[in-house]
Structures are given as structure tokens and as C-alpha cells.
Subunit: 196 residues, 2 copies
């Protein structure tokens, strides 16, 4: 008999299936042209079944897909500090080279969400603030360790690194000859005495 623990596991598995399908559908069609109905079809359940797990509908699914991506990045970053943190940032970009669909989805949503009325606006502004602060701390740590080039301000270096990562993703998606991991590594290294 499936006890509460079994039920919980089943729910988690179903949520994972739904998010895999949402990512597949969003990446293939883009967010606007995707429907909860199509995502349900990929999972092989009804639309009501999807909405049972994600009551907020399509936007809730998108948010969950992006949060899962953030969780994967957080796993790579762990509690790393200083140079190790900066190296892990590049590692995150490296894994994203194999996930064009997610990067595109993220890029479109981040741009749409610059509109203060967009439902994901608070999510993105908060997310950028949190990341910018974490990267600033990493450069400060490098400075404490004597590894920062003279005249480099940790906050400006952090914002420049973050802007570069966002911009490289856009240029990469549009077919320019950039490498979202190696070009980020080059910029980050330009702030350091020893390249990462």
C-alpha cells in the first residue's frame, strides 16, 4: 500500500516529468506559442492533471523550469569562494552550451521581465541582485587573497562579469562567433593577477 511517503515520491516524480516536458515544449516552440495542453500531452496526462501540480499554469511552469536551472547552477557553485567561485561560474556557462533551448527561454524571459508589470519581474530583479552580490563577494575574497589586479573594484568587476555573461548568451544565440564559457573566463581573468 502506498503510504504518505510513497505518495510524496510519486508526486515528486510526476512534477519532474511535467517539468521535463515543459522544458522540451518551451524550447521547441518558445514560451508564447506553448500551451499547458501540449505539455500535458507530452507527459501523457490531462491538462487538469498538470494544473493540479502547477496551479499557476504556464507561467508557474516556466518559473519552475528556471528555478530548476538556478538550482543546478547553485549546486555547481556550492559554498565556493574567491577564485573557486569564479571558476564555477565559468563551469555553469560550460554546461549551458549543451542547453541552447533553456538559454534561449531564459534570455527571452529575462528581457520580457524588464517590464515592471511582467509577472516574473520581481523574480529577475531579485535574482540579478543576489547573483551580483555573490560575485562581488567572490572578487572581494580574491582581493583579500592578493589576487586582484591593482585598480580593479570588486563591484564593477562583478557587474561587468554578469553583463558579459548575459550579453554573450544573446550573441551566441544569434550565431556570432563567441564561446559563452571561454569568453567569460577571459573577461574574468582580465581582473585577476593569475588567469582562472
Amino acid at each position: 500500500m502506498a503510504g504518505p511517503r510513497g505518495e510524496y515520491r510519486k508526486t515528486a516524480e510526476r512534477r519532474t516529468q511535467i517539468l521535463d516536458a515543459a522544458l522540451e515544449v518551451f524550447s521547441k516552440n518558445g514560451y508564447t506559442a506553448s500551451s499547458v495542453n501540449e505539455i500535458a500531452r507530452v507527459v501523457g496526462i490531462s491538462q487538469t492533471g498538470v494544473l493540479h501540480h502547477f496551479t499557476g499554469g504556464k507561467m508557474a511552469l516556466l518559473r519552475a523550469v528556471l528555478e530548476r536551472r538556478d538550482a543546478a547552477a547553485r549546486e555547481l557553485l556550492g559554498d565556493k569562494q574567491g577564485r573557486d567561485f569564479l571558476r564555477a561560474m565559468v563551469e555553469v556557462s560550460r554546461t549551458q552550451r549543451a542547453q541552447r533551448g533553456v538559454v534561449q527561454l531564459y534570455t527571452i524571459l529575462a528581457a520580457e521581465a524588464t517590464d515592471p508589470d511582467h509577472p516574473a519581474h520581481a523574480y529577475f530583479t531579485e535574482r540579478f541582485q543576489v547573483i551580483a552580490d555573490a560575485v562581488t563577494r567572490a572578487y572581494e575574497q580574491v582581493r583579500s587573497d592578493g589576487g586582484l589586479r591593482e585598480g580593479v573594484d570588486p563591484r564593477r568587476a562583478a557587474l561587468s562579469s554578469l553583463a558579459s555573461i548575459e550579453g554573450l548568451q544573446l550573441l551566441w544565440l544569434d550565431g556570432l562567433d563567441v564561446d559563452i564559457a571561454e569568453d567569460s573566463a577571459r573577461l574574468i581573468s582580465s581582473f585577476l593577477i593569475e588567469p582562472i
Copy 2:
């Protein structure tokens, strides 16, 4: 009596009025929520009147607004070369600090257009290629003049500058403490022996 020349001037004026209205409406509501009808209302003409000048409808209006923005940038860049070209790029960013609506519109459309099926996809990929090539030539010129730092590759510097400008716009729109002109100038200067 209005001869052909008078007619031509009248048409040009009407097109300018329509584009001013389109920019106003797009910037206020975002592209998706805007309608040709509302743009027509702002001009004080009928929807048919707008479509007479822009047969491609809303997407044609957006494209024309963006092309007008590009034309303004081209005017600042002129036939400048080397350091002067790089300085003019920063000047373009400086003028954009006063045009949040246009920058937001551009950012959203550039992201949406990463989708190969998007009607503006060719426009953006081509545009990025043209700009990347022009910036590369500027850094090559600086190198010829002996002003490039040792070990800096003009192509990588150009793509890094372009990525940075795109990324800074996104962070700026989301309220981060960046200056789209001064932070670009700092990055560009990092490739040069003398800051611009």
C-alpha cells in the same frame, strides 16, 4: 498646389508622426500589448491610414522604430575610425540613458528574435554581424596606431565590448547599479594602452 515634391514631404512627415506614436505606445505598453489601432489613435488618424504607410502592420512599425534608432547611432559613428569610433560607441550608450523605453523595446525584441522563426531574426543576426565587424575594424585600427594592449585580439575585444553593451542594458533595465555608458567605457579602455 502640392506637387509631387509637396506630396513626398507630406508623406515623410506623416511617417515620422506615426513612428513617434509607435515608439510612445510600444514603450508604454510593451510590444505584445500594443495595437496598430492605439498607435493610429495617438496620431489622430484611422488604422487604415497607418497601414497605408506601413503595410506590414505592427511588426513593420517596430522594425522602422528600431531602424530609426540604428540610423541615429550611425550618425554619431559617422565614418569615425579607431579610438574615435570606440568613443562614439560610448556616446551612443550615453544618449540611450535618456531613452529607457526604446532600450527596453530593443532588448525584448532582440531576445525574442533569437528564435529562428521570429520575423525579426534575420534583421538581428545581420545587425550583430555588421556591428561586430565594424568594432573589430576599430580595434584593428587602434592596433595599427600602436594603442592596443599587448595580447589583446581585436575580434575578441570587439565581441566582448558588444556583449558587455547588450548585458549592461539588461542589468540597467532591471535596476542594477550599472551605467550603460561609463561601464562600457571602462571595459573598452581595459583593452587600450590609454583609456578613451
